[in-house]
Symmetry: none
Subunit: 212 residues, 4 copies
């Protein structure tokens, strides 16, 4: 992620740098930092250093720390959503689709754990900084809409009972929050959690009520 030569940087424009590259690097580095340590604890200096620049240079790309956070959120949300959409493209039926999403989720967590972790962290940071809500709600809404549509299609195809629409939606939200917030540390842990959710959705997590 960093710029290679560490302390050789001097005043003025550095030779042979691409602005877009630097922006991308900042976004990636910041996502990881925000995911790991949250908005408050992450400092501009940390992000900058990891991106191979100075804190002041950050302001060349983003007008403030909050704006950077919002940009990271937008970027991440967009990427994750694109993957989800692509994952269910050739899949039909509610349960298969949810499973496809969970699998894709696991695949992404494998490639770059900071994606899911960041999205999990956002929930917390938003709760702690009510000002964020407004700035992020546009992106947030896109994801909500996606899941709503999955469930709604399940209702239409008969997979999900109409009366259980809200229930299922709540389950998806709760479960995905738990997955991103608590279980994305190790690959094995994440895989296990994904399998557990799948089993629960299929209805065979525990033995078929032997008490009844």
């Amino acid at each position: 992620m960093s710029r290679g030569k560490k302390s050789t940087s001097r005043l003025g424009r550095p030779p042979a740098t691409d602005s877009a590259d630097t922006r991308r690097t900042i976004l990636d580095v910041a996502r990881a930092a925000f995911a790991d340590r949250g908005f408050e604890v992450t400092t501009n200096r940390e992000i900058a250093t990891e991106a191979g620049i100075t804190p002041a240079a950050l302001y060349h790309y983003f007008p403030s720390k909050l704006d950077l956070f919002v940009a990271v959120h937008h970027d991440t949300q967009e990427r994750v959503l694109a993957r989800f959409i692509q994952a269910i493209e050739d899949v039909s039926g509610f349960v298969p689709r949810l499973e496809a999403i969970l699998d894709e989720s696991h695949r992404m967590n494998n490639e770059d754990p900071s994606l899911a972790r960041f999205l999990g962290a956002v929930r917390v940071d938003v709760a702690r900084h009510p000002e964020f809500e407004m700035a992020l709600q546009v992106d947030q809404a896109a994801m909500d809409t996606f899941f709503r549509s999955i469930v709604d299609q399940g209702v239409e195809t008969g997979d999900v009972d109409r009366s259980r629409r809200a229930l299922v939606l709540s389950f998806v939200a709760t479960t995905l929050t738990g997955l991103t917030t608590g279980q994305s540390a190790s690959d094995r842990q994440h895989a296990l959690a994904v399998e557990a959710i799948k089993a629960a959705v299929r209805g065979d997590l525990v033995a078929r009520l032997p008490h009844a």
Copy 2:
């Protein structure tokens, strides 16, 4: 929340009680603050003001902000665990017990939402402050042990397939994290999420796979 007037009479309650009161107040106030805003964003001044004292006075009760946080964690964990233990006392069978825990969880969220919210927030704060890990792991372990024992008993009674022990444990962890982190804002939302988890555990969240 604020402390009563100090009695000037020589007889009566010993001063020690006053001190214990203040400590209790600080703990309660701090739990709410940490739950709402997290460790970083919450300032000593806020806690102190809400407890009716000055920031400096905090240091008579806890040697540092971190120690206060740990104390709050210990206190909260203890109280929640006690409620959980009591909730399953007269219940047998894995699913009924899990349901009892979920119900108790909902009841507690109703009485004092800061309990669950704090426990949800801890997970995040610990991840963000590696120093916390060591200090909290003793308390954390107690809760883990509790859930492990629930599942293990389920295995023994045959409710939980032995091969699925880890899976079920992961499900409980994921699900409870999601519940405390994401769904404890409104009572209705929390109730719905609890019902959703119960349905999933019972295996009738969605229609019995018509595709199969």
Copy 3:
């Protein structure tokens, strides 16, 4: 102005200090600094150092740099106005009163040049920071009222022609601005300027129009 022992200060409350004293010192030191260098150029660190404390300690007394500035303005305005009022107490007639004010002005400039210089500097800083206007206007109004009343009394006693009320007021304002902004550096220069204004008011600055 400063606290004596320079680098002996350590953490915690310093022994034997009076809060009111420190506040007074800050006010005095800040007045001089703002007068000399203006609001922008003066740093909290400079003020603090000259007052024998750290920049952070400033915030124990004033919530922000702007509030400190406003407090200095209030304090200075109050002191100067009190002196002016006292100076004209036993004097009657417009010209004698204006002369009394000019003399008092000179005396004050001699005792503590920062008083007048600060008031001169304020005009500039307000023009440069429109946000200040609101904060200072209450104090400003008191001084304006004072001068207006002097002129108005002159009108009543017949010293000032009713039709020239605005003209005289403008002269006083222009002249006093010039005095505080431009001529308060050296005592001799200030004295000369005061005499010049007096002569102009008396009408014998230059020879009685020999051209006419």
Copy 4:
């Protein structure tokens, strides 16, 4: 204020003229900015943006912000002085000349208020930045010399009493400082102040001392 489109034809105005235009624009824009907000508060970016270029481009015309300020001062002083000199060309006698200067001053304030305001602001900025003193003193001296010569001629023609030379000079300085610093905001206010000064010089600002 903005620069015309660069002509791409090989014939026509040499590029040097374009450059001179830009320089002129910068000077004008900077004068207004420095006059309004002073040296400190005005940023290179503001000046550049208003001149239609980038901050870095400023450095092709002036080696530093301070040099730009000095250049603006030189330019402004020169222009104002030229107008003053021209204003008194056909006028003789001290009072008439001073009145001519005041009138011209008012006319200039009407045409471009930034001229007078800048000169008023300089006094303050110089006091706040001792480094300026040396750089500006050459220009400053020209203006001083001009006023000195006016007064000296008054002495020679008998309009000004020889013993009052310094007094009159001080009056002119005080009064002009007050005019530029405090009264150049509105045209009406400026006009009134000019009339007030004239009246004072003529000796009929207030009624002829009835107390004497």
